[in-house]
Amino acid sequence: MAGKIAAIALNTFKEAVRNRVLYVLLFFSVVIMLGAWVASTLSIDDETKIVRDLGAGAINFIALLIAVFVGIGLVYNDLDKKTIYTIISKPISRWHFLVGKYLGLLLTIAVNVLFMTWIFCAVLYLRGYLAGDVMYEALYFVDDEGYLNYRGVFAHLFYLVWSAVKALVFGLLHVVMFGMEGVLGIPGAAATQGLFMTSVLTILEMAIITAFAVLFSSFSSPTLSAFMTVIVFIIGRLNQELYLFADTMVQRAGGMEALGGGQVVAYYFSVVAAHLSPNLAVFNQRRELAEFQDIQLGVMDISYGIAYTAMILTIAAIVFNRRNFK
């Protein structure tokens, strides 16, 4: 059983990796990260704070787009193009297929988030090297007499390439050492503090969102599935605010009895939506990241993510088990 689920998961990963949309999204993420660098130079606030905030935001956003656009297509295409006929007729259960697809998708997202984290760490290292090093400032393209200083240009280019290589290597160290590369005494490592943990939180958040994407795409069209998945993401992010909204409304009115007709509807809508939706606020610690505070990831948060995912996948499996494939 596990072998068959793994086969489906790996094939799903292969499918996603051979999908051009993925590369467009990754390219887009690199553009945002470099854009963040440029934007930070225009800011009067702490530059590093802005780069870190924007970069982590880009990783989170692109991960969401992968979950929604690549993820939904993966299940829907199998149904639409009837590939599923030859898969379900093999000695596997329908839920094996669904869980395999889910795990393949999650693997895709995890690999891509870690890839983006690597690139982003490299950007941060490079930014540090180019901004702070005296060598860089001292190199001039033209000499005192106004002639182009070729030696200067080559030295400049060499320094740039060398810095980029160093940045890429140290960025990779950040990912493979689970964000602990600072212990090696690498210069500039402080800038990447907490990024790995933030990315792990993003992967956990996407584990829940992907489960919803699989659930929706197991019974509805891709457009509707994408729409509903994004709605779940938004409500999930606003989860705590919905409780707050409901409480504030009651307090202002002076008790439940004092609420008007429309307010009662709004109250129950918020409370029910907050209860049903996943609490994604737990996984969003970008403010802490920007402020260089510790990123918290408790056992309870991980358990919550796993339990919620299992619940959504179970519902998806029940829906999927009962349907006729057209």
Partner: protein
């Protein structure tokens, strides 16, 4: 011996959603939501048979196969394959299935595709390595093993589909319209492959609307029309008793014999010194043959033309339609 496939009263009624998209438009449908795709169907298929499920488009053939493959759930009735219910995964390990116009992951290379499906069958690496090149050879795709399926022609995809259906060396093979979209050569290859499967002792259950092909290879057939089984049996039983007409071809006879034969025949075709007479009755034909031989004429051919499956098929379905029209007319009067 127990039959390999037993189908007992299997039926399927599709019920459309009240609110749904039809032709890209949102539509609320309160009436006519039910479509009967398959009326209660009973069939048994014995081991080692080539069984054809025949019928025009929309007859319910694919629905029946989809239910057998666990892709659709029956509205009523049940079926067993090799004595086990359809939900049993151990049954799926012993069957192969090729759907109509199959589509596979087109980003996979031929070999990768079969390797993936082999894993779904639970085959270990060593047996996959041994079986895949063997199968590619059987279906004539060895040269395309390293090409992505995206570059395959329709005929090649069909062959890749056959290969995946045979990966596990199945006991029963289900083929849904295996010849659709193939050219005459492709059709012949599929026919030969089905015959070779029978030689290996496998049972083949296939659906088709190409009757000539079915006639050439099937041991038994069932004919479906509008979801209903209208005939089932061995082809020899269905068609043998029905000699349709007798053809007598002859030449080199005196004119009066030609005239006499022409008078008695239902149809007569005349070419310079070559004649073809068609008789409805056997004794008339025999008498004509005797007359030709007595006159020292040359008897070129004497054929009892049996009904083809196609003619049988059209007659049965026409009869059915006639009966429906009559019932409708009677209903209208009362």
């Amino acid at each position: 011996m127990a039959p390999v496939i037993e189908i007992n009263g299997l039926s399927k009624v599709y019920v459309r959603d009240v609110i749904g998209f039809e032709n890209g438009r949102l539509r609320v449908r309160l009436k006519d939501r039910r479509t009967v795709a398959l009326k209660p169907l009973d069939l048994t298929v014995e081991e080692g048979e080539i069984f054809g499920l025949l019928g025009p488009n929309g007859a319910g053939k694919t629905t029946a196969i989809k239910i057998l493959m666990g892709l659709h759930f029956p509205t009523s009735g049940d079926a067993r394959i090799m004595g086990r219910p359809l939900e049993d995964n151990s049954v799926k390990a012993k069957i192969g299935f090729l759907p109509e116009n199959p589509f596979f992951y087109d980003y996979l290379k031929g070999e990768e595709f079969l390797d993936y499906y082999g894993q779904l069958y639970g085959m270990d690496k060593a047996s996959r390595r041994r079986r895949i090149p063997e199968l590619l050879e059987t279906v004539g795709l060895s040269h395309a093993a390293q090409l992505p399926l995206r570059g395959y022609s329709k005929g090649m995809l069909q062959r890749a589909g056959l290969a995946q259906a045979l990966l596990n060396d199945p006991k029963v093979v289900f083929l849904d319209e295996p010849q659709s979209g193939l050219d005459p050569f492709g059709r012949k290859e599929v026919r030969d492959l089905i015959l070779s499967l029978r030689e290996q002792g496998k049972t083949v259950f296939f659906s088709s609307h190409i009757l000539q092909d079915a006639e050439m290879i099937c041991d038994r057939v069932a004919i479906l029309h509008q979801g209903e089984r209208i005939a089932v049996g061995a082809l020899s039983e269905m068609l043998s008793a029905k000699v349709k007409e007798y053809e007598v071809g002859f030449s080199d006879v005196p004119k009066e014999i030609v005239e006499k034969t022409k008078k008695g025949a239902a149809r007569f075709v005349e070419r310079p010194n070559e004649y073809l007479a068609v008789f409805d009755k056997e004794d008339e034909a025999r008498a004509a043959v005797r007359a030709i031989l007595d006159a020292n004429g040359m008897l070129e051919s004497f054929i009892a033309r049996k009904e083809t499956l196609e003619e049988y098929f059209i007659r049965e379905i026409e009869g059915k339609r006639e009966a429906e029209r009559a019932a409708l007319a009677n209903g209208g009067k009362s």
